[in-house]
């Protein structure tokens, strides 16, 4: 029971999600001032969806982000141009991807 399970408010939240470079980059800025940029390929690879099998784009080009939608208070759902749009990315996951 060492984990504090009550407070939501302690962990950093994103203040802005900005899709850049024709959908190839996602810049995430957090409310504690930390920011980081995640490539669309890395995001696609980190999709927590159960259905994330990939069919590579012809020519091996990178996937691009085409949609971002907020889910409740805790995550966003990101759509890619290969049709994958079921991955739900929590603030925590975005933080980890943006800072590591």
């Amino acid at each position: 029971m060492s984990e504090d399970i009550t407070t939501s408010g302690a962990e950093p939240w994103p203040s802005e999600l900005r899709v850049q470079n024709n959908g190839l980059l996602l810049k995430v800025t957090f409310d504690d001032g930390v920011f980081g940029t995640i490539s669309s390929e890395r995001l696609r690879g980190a999709s927590p969806s159960a259905d994330k099998t990939r069919v590579p784009h012809p020519g091996g080009r990178e996937v691009a982000i085409v949609a971002i939608e907020q889910i409740g208070n805790y995550a966003v759902q990101i759509g890619f141009d290969d049709g994958h749009n079921t991955g739900i990315y929590t603030w925590k996951l975005l933080r980890s991807l943006a800072t590591h």
Partner: protein, 379 residues
């Protein structure tokens, strides 16, 4: 290869969302993405204009597709609050209208419900701890304090609200013929699947049906102006809980537990779930806290005592109060005349009103309880 300038040039002459300013000059274009001849364009529109913009969207897609070097075009409408309108706290209007278009983004989620200021969940983890009784009397307590209150019975498999509130009538259709009117009783607006089916009928549904019914209760019920919508959750941490966390903007959760370990274990699971979905914990209620014998006046701690308070303290969560195991509460609940409405001056009602007071304070007075949603910028 088509360029962004060529696309914008092709859209010259297309009116913007206000119908006057040309689209290109209106600032409503949120981003143009070109990938291998595929063009993605996002346009910000006010939700009220979304339907009208739907035909324009097709026109814009056709214009882009007609350009040489364009393999396909996808135009999405992104909702935006009306200029000058104060956005609901913590809400990012998102996504396109679900107009059934093949390209349409998934149905908007995580939005607030129009007119409803705060949505709170009453949950327990374990069943049978008096969660619905607490939700009912908490809602009446909030109404007693002068708030406009609604109750959404999210326990589709075991709806208790019709009995607790003593409602026998079926909900009426709203004047528009599409939405459902909640049934108003004791000054509280109530909707429950139990109002739509027979008392003894069972709801035998798989998850997707449950999710769709809950979304209808959220969006297709004419809630009107509410300060608080109290959601009575079923036990557990499954489809219903996840749907509410994803599709409603929950302002917080109240956890109900008896003092016994068996109940507290599941209460912890519920707390952990709300934490995962970033829903603030408003506090813990200890129900069936003790039993005062009406005959001898002696007190028995049937389910032990103080467990929920201890649990709250251990996690730095507010303890909202204890409600004794009391035959008056049981009788008024089964009788459809809830104690806070029927006898607001009674000591039993006072316990609930005190809990409501603390919940209200946490909801409306605590600064920074809710955090702003991130801005989402495509472009």
């Amino acid at each position: 290869m088509v360029s962004k300038d060529e696309i914008l040039a092709a859209l010259a002459g297309v009116p913007g969302p206000d119908g006057k300013t040309p689209l290109v000059q209106s600032g409503a274009i949120d981003g143009v993405t070109i990938r291998d001849g595929k063009v993605f364009l996002a346009i910000r529109v006010e939700p009220s204009r979304a339907r009208a913009m739907e035909s324009l969207r097709g026109d814009i897609e056709a214009r882009i597709k007609a350009l040489p070097g364009v393999a396909s075009a996808l135009v999405t409408l992104t909702a935006e609050a009306a200029p000058g309108a104060k956005p609901a706290p913590g809400v990012k209007p998102a996504a396109a209208p679900h107009a059934g278009h093949a390209h349409a983004a998934p149905a908007p989620r995580g939005r607030a419900i129009e007119g409803v200021k705060k949505i709170i969940a009453v949950a327990s983890g374990k069943g049978g701890v008096g969660k619905s009784t607490t939700a009912c009397n908490l809602a009446l307590g909030l109404a007693h304090l002068g708030l406009k209150v609604g109750v959404l019975d999210a326990d589709l498999f075991g709806p208790s609200m019709p009995r607790l509130f003593g409602i026998a009538q079926k909900p009426a259709l709203a004047p528009d013929g599409k939405k459902l009117m909640p049934v108003e009783t004791f000054g509280v607006k109530v909707i429950s699947i139990g109002l739509l089916i027979d008392d003894n009928a069972a709801v035998v549904w798989r998850g997707p049906m449950v999710v769709s019914a809950l979304n209808q209760f959220l969006r297709d019920v004419e809630w009107g102006e509410l300060d608080v919508l109290v959601v009575d959750m079923p036990p557990g941490t499954g489809d219903v809980q996840l749907t509410m966390a994803q599709n409603a903007q929950l302002a917080g959760a109240v956890i109900v537990s008896t003092p016994q370990d068996l109940s507290l274990i599941d209460a912890r699971r519920a707390i952990s779930m709300f934490r995962q979905v970033e829903t603030p914990l408003l506090g813990i209620v200890e129900n069936m806290s003790y039993f005062l014998c009406p005959h001898c006046g002696g007190r028995t701690d049937v389910f032990a005592h103080g467990g929920a308070r201890h649990e709250a303290e251990a996690h730095g969560a507010p303890f909202l109060g204890e409600v004794p195991l009391d035959i008056v509460i049981r009788e008024t609940s089964d009788g459809g005349a809830p104690i806070v409405a029927g006898a607001p001056g009674s000591p039993q009602a006072a316990a609930y009103i005190e809990i409501a007071r603390k919940v209200r304070a946490r909801l409306f007075e605590a600064a920074g309880a809710e955090r702003a949603a991130p801005r989402i910028v495509m472009g």
